[in-house]
């Protein structure tokens, strides 16, 4: 199992332990790909009505709705809830390919999970 997948699974467990937040995002269904910059590891997360229904490692065929690319250290910091994705995004250390609204929702989700 890759480090990225482990971190993603841990993140999903924390998220699913917050049913109100999952319910808040019940109208959210999409496929998000997380990529380590420079052709490193990648995983895809499939979300259906706010719940994560699959983690693909490596990502399967088919276009992701949102692709998030960053250095391993940045992605792992975000998945460990030590940083919101918006911070590295603002400073060009995390790149997003996809609709801004989807990224804003992802940032909302992570920020809601981050300890104050």
């Amino acid at each position: 199992m890759t480090t990225l997948r482990q971190a993603t699974e841990a993140f999903v467990a924390v998220y699913h332990a917050r049913p109100r937040l999952v319910a808040d995002l019940a109208d959210w269904s999409l496929r998000i790909e997380l990529r380590i910059a420079g052709g490193g590891e990648a995983v895809a997360v499939r979300i259906d009505h706010g719940r994560v229904v699959a983690i693909e490692d490596p990502p399967g065929a088919g276009r992701a709705d949102l692709v998030v690319t960053a250095a391993a250290s940045v992605l792992l910091e975000v998945l460990a809830l030590r940083m919101s994705p918006n911070e590295p995004y603002l400073f060009g250390e995390l790149l997003v390919d996809g609709p801004e609204a989807a990224f804003l929702r992802l940032d909302y989700l992570v920020t809601a999970l981050c300890p104050e």
Binding site: L25, Y89, L90, G92, E93, L95, V96, D97, G98
Partner: protein, 438 residues
């Protein structure tokens, strides 16, 4: 070029939508005022020369911004790219003053919108300003954004309307044999022309925000749109400058007035005034809406990092809008509008914004000459020229401020700049301390 007219199969907005966003964000009532002020500064055809020179500089800049976006395709814009090349602190110091002074420009913009509304509706100008601010803020707070088609229609109507009026004025002036007399003006000093060019840079402010709209996609199309947008804006402002030069009025710097209504009044009468009033309000709305959304998101992101009060970071889950940050921005905008309306000092925010824009564009030009944006094969001479270009932008920005028409305007513009840079410096230091503490 094919990317500009082609279908957007890559998920990014099509070329025409990006073009209308880029040029529509740059054009607002305060820009038309800026063209009017150029007429008072250098006069006649020289104001057109200042616009064209600023346009040429922005064309060079557009190529650099396109390179930055191709290497770092971030929807966050220049702050992301400057940060990659020069570091986070430098990016904050380069970009934050520009954004903070945008809020001061919003004060000038809503004051002008109040004047426009007062000319077409039986209401006083301050009430018109408040109505404009309140309505734009309320729509923004609900997450309402103008659609691509609506934005393109607004921008197109404003461009066609004002260029049409300017052309009508020129034809009328020519038919009376006065065109040469109106366009000819004493040759300005080199310093005055440079100051006018520096001030004209502010007319293009916002053209680079197309990278927000593209959302990290379609770098080739974005590159083409950046160049096209600058060319379009240069043509538009040059036409408006020619039209304004033909107006039979005395030009005085820094007087609070809505020149697009003056143009409409002379070029087409009451119907034209109502039509131009409506499209210029829509253009102001799109500019203010874009500024509010971008600034509120930045304020929320900085708050989430603990650099601003954490309460501003809260995002409303349904609309995905940081409502508290928007509320704070409304308070600042109302205060800026009140200052402009009570003091009548509309020029200081324009001059300060011109200088901050020039400095940020200079930082972007510098970033282009550093890794990861500099190509390995880029020679010393081209890098040197890039540095000279960046330095030239800074000098032009400073020149625009120093050429303020009165000591009061000069002190006010310098104070605004000092406040904006002090604020940015404080935030950059705080961010650096926070990072060094892990």
């Amino acid at each position: 070029m094919s990317g500009v007219s082609g279908e957007a199969s890559d998920g990014a907005p099509p070329g025409w939508a990006l073009l209308s966003c880029s040029s529509g964000t740059a054009v607002a009532s305060v820009c038309i005022f800026g063209v009017f002020d150029l007429q008072a500064l250098v006069g006649g055809v020289w104001s057109v020369a200042a616009v064209v020179m600023a346009g040429l500089l922005c064309q060079l800049l557009a190529r650099r911004v396109a390179r930055l976006y191709a290497v770092c395709p971030s929807g966050a814009g220049l702050i992301a790219q400057i940060s990659r090349a020069l570091g986070r602190s430098a990016a904050l110091i380069a970009v934050l003053p520009y954004l903070l002074l945008t809020l001061c420009l919003v004060g000038a913009e809503s004051a002008l919108c109040g004047l426009v509304l007062a000319q077409v509706l039986p209401i006083p100008a301050p009430l018109g300003s408040l109505l404009f601010l309140g309505a734009t803020w309320a729509l923004c707070r609900r997450g309402v954004r103008l659609g691509q088609v609506a934005q393109a229609v607004c921008t197109g109507a404003l461009f066609i309307g004002l260029i049409g009026l300017a052309t009508a004025l020129m034809i009328d002036t020519a038919s009376r044999g006065l065109l040469l007399a109106r366009l000819s003006a004493p040759t300005p000093s080199f310093a005055a022309l440079a100051a006018a060019t520096g001030q004209a840079l502010f007319l293009f402010m916002g053209f680079e925000l197309v990278t927000f709209q593209a959302g990290g996609r379609a770098p080739q199309r974005v590159g083409a749109v950046l160049g096209l947008s600058v060319a379009l804006l240069t043509g538009f402002y040059a036409a408006v400058a020619l039209g304004i030069a033909c107006l039979p009025v005395a030009f005085e710097r820094g007087v609070l007035a809505a020149p697009q209504m003056l143009l409409a009044g002379h070029g087409g009468g009451k119907v034209a005034m109502v039509a131009i009033g409506a499209v210029s309000l829509l253009a102001s709305y799109t500019s203010f809406n874009g500024a509010l959304l971008a600034l509120s998101r930045l304020a929320a992101a900085l708050s989430a990092q603990g650099l601003l009060p954490r309460a501003l970071a809260r995002v409303e889950p349904r609309s995905q809008v940081p409502r508290r940050a928007l509320d704070a921005l409304l308070v600042v905008s109302v205060a800026a509008t009140a200052i402009v309306l009570t003091s009548g000092a509309i020029l200081p925010p324009i001059l300060a914004a011109a200088a901050a824009a020039a400095a940020m564009y200079a930082a972007a030009a510098l970033a282009r000459e550093r890794p990861p944006f500099r190509e390995d094969h880029r020679g010393r001479a081209r890098r040197g020229l890039g540095m000279v270009f960046a330095g030239g932008l800074v000098v032009l920005g400073i020149g625009a401020v120093l050429d303020a028409p009165s000591l009061r305007d000069l002190i006010a513009a310098v104070s605004l700049l000092a406040l904006a840079y002090a604020g940015a410096l404080a935030l950059a230091r705080r961010a650096a301390r926070r990072r060094s503490h892990g």
